[in-house]
């Protein structure tokens, strides 16, 4: 069950925590196979069970086998009596729950596997992140090794290569990938890692040095934007003549009523301060409002062409006595003629 030394063809073996990458984070948890643990310790006395779990925890906490120095190992396990520790160590080794390395360090097979898997996963993730940055440009990266099955070597070549597995990119040219794999012939992770780091740094530097260029929008787009902008009603606003005529033509109202409503309209929107996209449409809506109770003329529904209503325009000059004056003039002409 336990394994003191892991062979060179197996997962990577670590003698101490110093063998790990510097930036590798500490393990937060350890996976425990409940059934295996039960089988291993349930027929043992309680203190042996407690000591076994303490040894395991000490190894996981420091991410290295227990040191050969009994005093340090005892402290890490939280066992205060040296004699007790030595007895426990002897018993655990005899039960094959732990094993002593040639260096004298105490280890456990399951612990070695977990640590190896943790380190491999960390390295893969790190490299995966680097390769993800590299693979963004559309052109294939020659330095990237892809996972290609090689029957002549057995598929184990690709499978055993965690880096190749992590960076498999199906969109790369298969011919190039195969060739790359042949050239690499078992990738040198460190060299490629360094190469990729340098390339990434260069790319970052280039991005920093490049001036921030802003593409100016086409003039049409600006005009469109200008037209679409909402505007407030200004203090000097006067009802455009066209809108006054539109109201007279579409409703049974007099010019005085239109003038009065124009004043109300202006005061209302000046007071509210709202911005509108189309003031002509606002006026038309105002006139049709049921609160106003203006009666619409039938068959005279005409629309006017919208202009820029906020520009100062000619006001509606409507003479309320025009008809009477015309009538009086006609009568005078008749009388004169008679």
């Amino acid at each position: 069950m336990s394994r003191a030394v892991i062979g060179h063809n197996g997962p990577p073996a670590f003698e101490s925590g110093e063998d790990f990458p510097e930036d590798m984070p500490k393990m937060h948890y350890f996976k425990c196979d409940i059934q295996a643990l039960r089988k291993a310790i349930f027929d043992k006395p309680l203190d042996i069970r407690g000591a076994y779990i303490s040894v395991l925890l000490a190894m996981y906490e420091f991410m290295e086998p227990l040191p050969a120095d009994d005093n340090i190992a005892r402290m890490r396990c939280g066992i205060w009596d040296m004699r007790v520790y030595r007895r426990i160590k002897r018993d655990l080794i005899a039960m094959k729950l732990i094993a002593e390395k040639p260096s004298g360090a105490i280890t456990n097979g399951r612990f070695e596997e977990e640590i190896a898997a943790y380190v491999t996963e960390f390295k893969n993730r790190k490299l995966g992140g680097l390769y993800a940055v590299q693979s963004r440009p559309s052109k294939p990266v020659v330095a990237v090794a892809t996972h290609v099955a090689r029957p002549e070597l057995g598929d184990s070549y690709g499978v055993a290569n965690p880096v190749a597995k992590a960076v498999a990119k199906p969109e790369l040219d298969p011919h190039l990938s195969e060739k790359t794999n042949e050239i690499n012939g078992g990738p040198d992770i460190r060299a490629r890692d360094l190469e990729l780091e340098i390339e990434r740094e260069l790319k970052k530097k280039k991005e920093r040095e490049a001036p921030a260029t802003q593409i100016a929008p086409p003039p049409e787009a600006l005009d469109e934007k200008k037209v679409r902008r909402r505007k407030k009603l200004t203090e000097d606003w006067l009802l455009p003549k066209a809108l006054g005529e539109w109201a007279l033509a579409n409703f049974h109202v007099s010019e005085a009523e239109v003038r009065h409503e124009a004043k109300r309209f202006k005061d209302h929107w000046l007071a509210s301060g709202e911005q509108k996209l189309d003031w002509a449409a606002t006026w038309r809506k105002w006139c049709r409002s049921p609160y106003l109770k203006w009666r619409e003329r039938e068959g005279r529904a005409t629309e006017i062409v919208d202009g820029d209503l906020l520009a100062p325009v000619e006001t509606v000059v409507v003479d309320p006595w025009a008809e009477q004056r015309a009538e009086a003039a006609r009568r005078r002409a008749e009388e004169d003629g008679a």
């Binding site: 996976k31 409940i34 643990l37 779990i53």
Partner: protein, 77 residues
Amino acid sequence: MRLDAEHVRKIAKATTKTRKGSKEIKFDIAFMTDAMDRLNLWERGLLMQALIKAGESPRPTAAQRALLALFVYGGEK
């Protein structure tokens, strides 16, 4: 974490199955080390026994779930 539903969620998050079909539980190293420091060897063995029984049980009791939920790893805080 005082409700049973939270215990269940935490345990479910920390429990996986191996290829062989056995149950694997992620134990929080820091919490377990702190707890072990307060116990003697015999008590540690008893605690492990309780944890193994709780982990193995197909339908753990509320007390077993609470005990297990204390020691399993609940993710980054």
